[in-house]
């Protein structure tokens, strides 16, 4: 048989309709369990090899933030090969060691290749790496891992524990953009209740855009890692319980905002000053299943978050300058998922966050630089076809003010037990004053071929 599992047409005769199914017999070893030649030490590993090609294909005029105009040419953006390795081993009763890492090679045509002075570039990243000890009522996990809060997938106001990196438009889902952090997580299980607490002794922050990527912009000053002049920590806890048709969680945490705040260096040149802001988060999330409909709600109250403001000095001879003010913020994500049938589902979520009484926190000569209310809407449609071999997903994301819109269609085709190919088309539109204005009128197309074993 063809090793790629492709159909051998010659094995299906034209007279199958005349076959006597009443006297059917099956070929020998037709359903024999595949013999595994994998050595025992390799069993805990899973490997995924991927080759990705992605290009911006719409040549169009662009207007830059400074008002100048130019052309965006059709260009190959991603041409990369990656090896994702996953290891999971319950090596002793009640113990687990889990790790995953990714190695990438950036070939000619990839923006990383261009950013590396037209040389092949490589990258290695450790994702997960933790040890877990579990007993009847407790579980302790220490190492690089993720903690996900919130019921809404993709735009929950509570999904703030881990940092994220949307490096380019091949990653548009938060679940693929989340970065692992070094955490100690303790879970306590009692009946239908689960209490989960974490400590992070080395909080990290969203990395700046990678040079050459579609999101990259030339900053006025170098954006460097946060300079730690004191020990930082994060801590949080969540209580979750389930009853008929619903799961409910309440949570609280002391966190640092994932995004650093940058300001100009006093000298006016060199590295930007970065500011990390700590705040308190209180939240609640819940879902309710009603037939084929699932309702999701996440609510988050953030105390003492930072907002960017523009200060007008009282001295008219001085120029306005950027600063930050602490405020309180209330956010909510309301969503639903509907199972159209057993193969199709539709998911919609709308997230909004607003500063509470911003005026009361502002000095008389300061104005907010950000919108008081921000948010986004996310719509996803998915369809499993051909017994799950073909998966269609359509996504539409938009800022609440429609300042930027992203539409994506992807088709994943599983060719065999190991081989899959995914094609994707992504279109973006953004207003000139939007943070994503650089992506306006872009159309990206690409494919990823992967072999998992």
């Amino acid at each position: 048989m063809c090793p790629l599992g492709l159909l051998q047409a010659q094995d299906i005769p034209g007279d199958i309709d005349d076959f006597d199914f009443d006297n059917v017999s099956f070929g020998d070893d037709m359903f024999a369990q595949p013999q595994s030649n994998t050595p025992a030490w390799l069993e805990p590993f899973t490997f995924k090899l991927s080759q990705q090609l992605f290009a911006q294909v719409n040549q169009h005029a662009v207007t830059r933030a400074d008002g100048s105009s130019g052309n965006r040419s059709a260009i190959l953006e991603n041409n990369r090969f990656s090896l994702l390795t996953r290891y999971q081993s319950p090596f002793a009763p009640g113990w687990l060691l889990q790790a995953s890492a990714q190695a990438k090679v950036y070939w000619p045509g990839d923006y990383e290749y261009r950013a590396n002075d037209d040389r092949i570039d490589t990258e290695f990243r450790l994702n997960e790496f933790f040890v877990q000890r579990s007993t009847t009522e407790h579980s302790l996990k220490i190492g690089a891992q993720t903690v996900v809060w919130g019921e809404n997938i993709g735009n929950s106001v509570l999904d703030v524990i881990n940092t994220s990196e949307f490096r380019d438009l091949t990653i548009i889902d938060i679940e693929d953009a989340r970065l692992n952090q070094w955490l100690l997580v303790w879970d306590r299980f009692v009946g239908n209740y689960q209490m989960s607490s974490f400590v992070n002794l080395y909080p990290e922050f969203n990395p700046p855009p990678v040079r050459g990527s579609p999101f990259f912009f030339e900053p006025a000053f170098n954006l460097t890692d946060y300079h730690r002049d004191k020990a930082l920590f994060e801590i949080g806890t969540q209580l979750r319980w389930s009853f008929a048709g619903s799961d409910v969680s309440i949570m609280g945490a002391y966190l640092y905002e994932n995004q650093l705040f940058y300001s100009a260096p006093p000298s006016g040149a060199g590295d930007a000053l970065s500011e990390a802001n700590d705040y308190l988060l209180l939240g609640v999330s819940a879902n309710r299943a009603i037939g084929m409909l699932l309702l999701n709600l996440d609510v988050a109250y953030s105390h003492d978050i930072l907002a960017n403001v523009l200060v007008m000095p009282t001295n008219p001879n001085e120029a306005p300058y950027l600063a930050t003010e602490t405020m309180n913020k209330l956010g909510a994500t309301l969503g639903f998922e509907y199972a159209i049938d057993n193969d199709q589902s539709i998911m919609f979520g709308i997230a909004a966050e607003g500063k509470l009484s911003p005026g009361s926190h502002l000095a008389s000569n300061a104005v907010m630089l950000e919108d008081e209310v921000t948010g986004n809407a996310l719509l996803r449609y998915s369809n499993n076809m051909r017994n799950g071999d073909v998966q269609l997903a359509m996504t539409l994301q938009s800022a609440l003010d429609a300042g930027s819109v992203l539409g994506s269609v992807s088709l994943n085709y599983t060719l065999s037990n190991n081989l899959a190919v995914m094609g994707q088309v992504i279109a973006t539109s953004a207003k000139k004053d939007s943070a994503l204005a650089v992506l306006d009128e872009d159309l990206r197309m690409g494919m990823t071929l992967s072999w998992t074993f």
Binding site: M1, D11, I12, N417
Partner: protein, 299 residues
Amino acid sequence: MKNSFYRCLSGGTLLCVLLTVSSSVFAQMNAREILEKVEDAQRTTTDSAFNRIQLSSCQFGVRDSQITCAERPRVKALESVGVNFGPQNKDTRSVSVVLEPPAEKGIGMLSVTYDDSDQDNETWLYLSALGTVKRIASGNSDDDSEPASIFGSEFTTEDQDTGKLDEYTLTIVEETTESGRDIWKIESIPNEERARKSRYARTVQYIDKERFVLLRADMYDQHDREVKRLIASRVELIDDVWVARSLTMMNLVSNRLSNMAILEIHTGIDVPEDFLSQRTLTDVAFRETELQKLREQID
């Protein structure tokens, strides 16, 4: 029954009476009683049970007068633990974890299915990419939605369903033999309400008289065209229950088949209540420890 009675007259009277009575009892069993016995046996395979299943699906063809896969089968291996609970033990709570293929390894599902159609079934899914357990909007397969495919195979939830005998007209069509076994051929025709939800307008089931196990089922659509055929083989006695360890569902319309091979089946084990929980989907250390304890019960 009459012939066996006369043959017995040459022997002891009491034995003849007993044999005649017992055969007359079976002869007097109606279709519903027969299928109830079959379903009772089927339910025991999900009650306090630990199973390892392999689902193989492929396009099929004919070679040398034998059905064979025309392509390399798509194989899915699962491990599942379940218990029955509720009124008459007709509700089921189970955890399934995917072992193969590699791309889906580790995907876990917790399901609670209720026999009462007024209660919604509940399903939670764990994908490592999600990072958390996710309740799934799936509704009740007993409602107006079509039966769901089981892990992408030709088997559907309707094929595995039990406890709906009241919704069918059941008739013993014939008593004959199938694969060398004495069987009842029982025809099931859904009532109006069930017909709206079912893919089959008529089903003919071949029930082994001695072992009360389904050997074959022919499923017909509303045009009385046979659309699917189920063939059971490797019938074995496991924990005092006859179980077919190989089930092959052939879709005669799409020429695709799926084989469900029960690689391991252990019933009557003591499953801790906290094992069938969301924790089992995410806490691999806990899951493997508890599975090892279940395996020790078996040993």
